[in-house]
Amino acid sequence: MIDLENAVAGYKSFRLAPTTLTFAEGRFSALIGPNGCGKSTLLRMISRQLAPLSGAVRIGGRAAAGLSQKDLARRIALLPQENIAPAGISVADLAGYGRAPHQSLLGIASDTDRAHVARALHRMDLAHLAQAPVASLSGGQRQRAFLAMLLAQDTPAMLFDEPTNWLDIQHQVQVLTLIRSLAAEGRTCVAVLHDIAQAARYADHLVVMKDGAIVAQGAPAEVVTAELVAEVYEIAVEIHPDPVSGTPVPYPCRPRSGALAAAG
C-alpha cells in the first residue's frame, strides 16, 4: 500500500498541488492526464527520487523518508521511461541487477537470486535471449529486459512510467496483463498510461491529473465520462463501451467543418 498525505511533489519551478491519496495493494491503479500534468513527477516522489516538499509518503505503512536506500529498494521499484543500458551486458546480467537490493555489497547471486532471474526472464518471454547483449535488442525487447529487472527485484510495490512505450500491440497487451497479474499477487501496482481506453480496460482504479492536481479518481466506468475528458484533455469525445470488455472508450467527435479551418 502506498499512502500520500498532503504530499507536495515538485521542483523550484514546478510543483504539484498537495496530494492525499491511497494506492491499495492488490490493485492496478493507472495515472492518466495530458502531457506535462505531473504524472511522472508524482511517480518520482512516490519512489523517493524526489523528496516531497511537504507532507508525507508512506510505503507499506512506513514513512518512505525514514527507510534506508536498500530497504526502500526492497519495498518499491520503478520502471522509468528511458531505458539506456550500459555497453557489453547481457539480458540475464541486466535482470540480475534487480537482485542487488537483496544481496550484499559484493553482489554474489544465491540460488534464490538465480531462480528469481530465470522466472523473470521467462515471464517476459526473454529466456531465449538471456545471453544476448542488451545493446543488440530492439526497443521493445529492451523494454521487456528492463521489466524483467523490475520483476527480479520482487517488491511489494511497483511503479511503471509509461510501460507500454516502444511496444507493439502484442507486447502492450502482454505488459498490461502482466501488471494485472502482479496486482493479483497482492502487489501495489501504479502505472502512468497514455491511452485512456487501455487504462480503463486493464486498471482497477484510475487517477486523473491535470495541471499538477488530481481531478478525479475511482473505477474506470465511473471516471471516464465525456465531461471529464472534455475538461481534462480539452477535446470533445463520445464514450462508447469497448465491445470486448464493456469498459468505456473515448472516441473524438467528428470536428465541425468550421472548427478545423478556425484552428488551422
Binding site: 527520487q49 536506500q69 529498494a73 522509468p80 539506456i84 546480467d93 541487477y97 545471453q131 525487447q141
Partner: protein, 338 residues
C-alpha cells in the same frame, strides 16, 4: 540486431582473456629486461634474476630494468582502472582521467612542487600529484554541480579545466627553462626513464590497495553504470558511492602520473578494449582492463627502448600513437556495426 541470437560463451570469454593477458604480461616484462642501451644475453638476465652474476649486469637488470617493468605494469594498470571507473560513473565511453582533467592537475602539481620546492624528495611526489588530481577533480565537480550532475556537462567542464591546467604546465616549463628542465619535460611525455625501486615503493601500496578495493567492489560499478536514478532504485546510495569511486579514480590516475608522467590514452583505451573482449560486467572487465593497461604500458616502454638504442622513445609517445590508431579503428569498427 542480427546477432541477438548469436550463441555466446560468457563464462569462457573472461577466463580465457584473463589467462592470455596473464601470460602475456610477464612475458613482455621479461622481454623488457633485454631491451635498452646495453644489450644483454639471456644467460646474463637469468643469472641476474637468480642472483648469480657480476655487479654491472646485476645493476642493469635488478636496479634498472626490473623495477621499471614492474612500475610500468603497475602504473598502466592503475591508469586503466581509473579510466574504467570514470567511464562507468560518467556513463561516457569517451571519458578518461586525461579528458576530465585529472592527469593535467596531477602534472601541474608535480611540476610546481619540483620547481618551487626542490628539497622535497622524489619519493614524496605522489602526494602533491594526488592533491593536484583531487583539486582538478573537485574543480570539475564543483563547476558541473548544479542539481543533478549531467555526465556530458562534467566531461566538457573536465576538458576546460584540463586545458587550463595544461596551459599552466606550459607556463611553468617556459618560466623555468634551465639545465634541469629537460628531466620534467621527459617525464611529461610519459616516460619511465630513471625510475627505480624507490619510486615503486612510494606508489605501490596506494595503487595496490585502491586496485584491490575497486576489484572487490566491482559489482557496485555495474549498478552505477545504469545511471543514478536506476542505481538509487536498486538500493545504491548514489552520492556516497559515486564520490568514493571518483576519489579512487582520481588517486589511482594522479599517483600513476606522478611516476610515469602523462601517459595518454591508456586510461581511455584499456577499458574500451576490455569491454569488447569480455563484456561490461565490471567483475571481469576491471581486471581485464587493468591487465591490458599494464600490457600496453610495459609494451610501450620496452618498444621505446628497443627501437633505436641507446636512444629512448618515451612510452607516452608510443601509447599516444597507438591511441590514434585505436580511435581510427574504433571509428571503422563502429561504422561497420551499423
Amino acid at each position: 540486431m542480427s546477432d541477438a541470437r548469436r550463441p555466446e560463451f560468457p563464462d569462457l570469454r573472461g577466463p580465457v582473456t584473463l589467462a592470455l593477458l596473464g601470460v602475456l604480461l610477464p612475458a613482455l616484462m621479461f622481454a623488457g629486461l633485454f631491451a635498452g642501451a646495453i644489450p644483454l644475453e639471456i644467460e646474463t638476465v637469468v643469472n641476474s634474476l637468480l642472483g648469480r652474476d657480476g655487479p654491472r649486469q646485476d645493476f642493469i637488470v635488478l636496479q634498472s630494468r626490473l623495477p621499471r617493468a614492474l612500475l610500468a605494469a603497475l602504473a598502466g594498470g592503475a591508469l586503466a582502472l581509473s579510466g574504467a571507473l570514470i567511464q562507468a560513473l560518467m556513463r561516457n565511453p569517451l571519458a578518461s582521467p586525461k579528458i576530465v582533467g585529472i592527469n593535467s592537475g596531477a602534472a601541474f602539481a608535480v611540476l610546481v612542487t619540483a620547481f618551487y620546492i626542490p628539497a622535497l624528495p622524489h619519493s614524496l611526489l605522489p602526494v602533491p600529484a594526488a592533491l593536484g588530481g583531487l583539486m582538478a577533480g573537485a574543480l570539475v565537480w564543483w563547476c558541473a554541480q548544479r542539481g543533478d550532475i549531467d555526465p556530458r556537462q562534467l566531461t566538457l567542464v573536465g576538458l576546460a579545466v584540463g586545458l587550463t591546467l595544461d596551459a599552466g604546465v606550459d607556463a611553468l616549463l617556459v618560466a623555468n627553462t634551465g639545465p634541469e628542465s629537460s628531466a620534467p619535460l621527459i617525464w611529461l611525455t610519459g616516460s619511465l626513464w630513471g625510475r627505480g625501486w624507490t619510486h615503486l615503493a612510494s606508489v605501490a601500496p596506494v595503487l595496490l590497495t585502491l586496485a584491490t578495493a575497486a576489484l572487490i567492489l566491482a559489482f557496485r560499478l555495474d549498478l552505477q553504470a545504469l545511471g543514478p536514478r536506476r542505481a538509487a532504485g536498486l538500493g545504491v546510495r548514489v552520492g556516497l558511492e559515486r564520490t568514493l569511486a571518483l576519489l579512487a579514480a582520481v588517486i589511482l590516475a594522479s599517483v600513476a602520473v606522478s611516476v610515469v608522467g602523462v601517459l595518454g590514452f591508456v586510461g581511455l583505451m584499456a577499458p574500451h578494449v576490455a569491454t569488447r573482449l569480455v563484456g561490461g560486467r565490471h567483475r571481469i572487465m576491471l581486471p581485464t582492463a587493468a591487465l591490458f593497461g599494464a600490457v600496453l604500458t610495459v609494451g610501450a616502454d620496452t618498444l621505446g627502448r628497443a627501437i633505436r638504442p641507446p636512444l629512448e622513445i618515451s612510452a607516452g609517445i608510443l601509447t599516444a600513437l597507438m591511441g590514434a590508431a585505436f580511435f581510427i579503428w574504433l571509428l571503422i569498427a563502429e561504422d561497420r556495426r551499423i
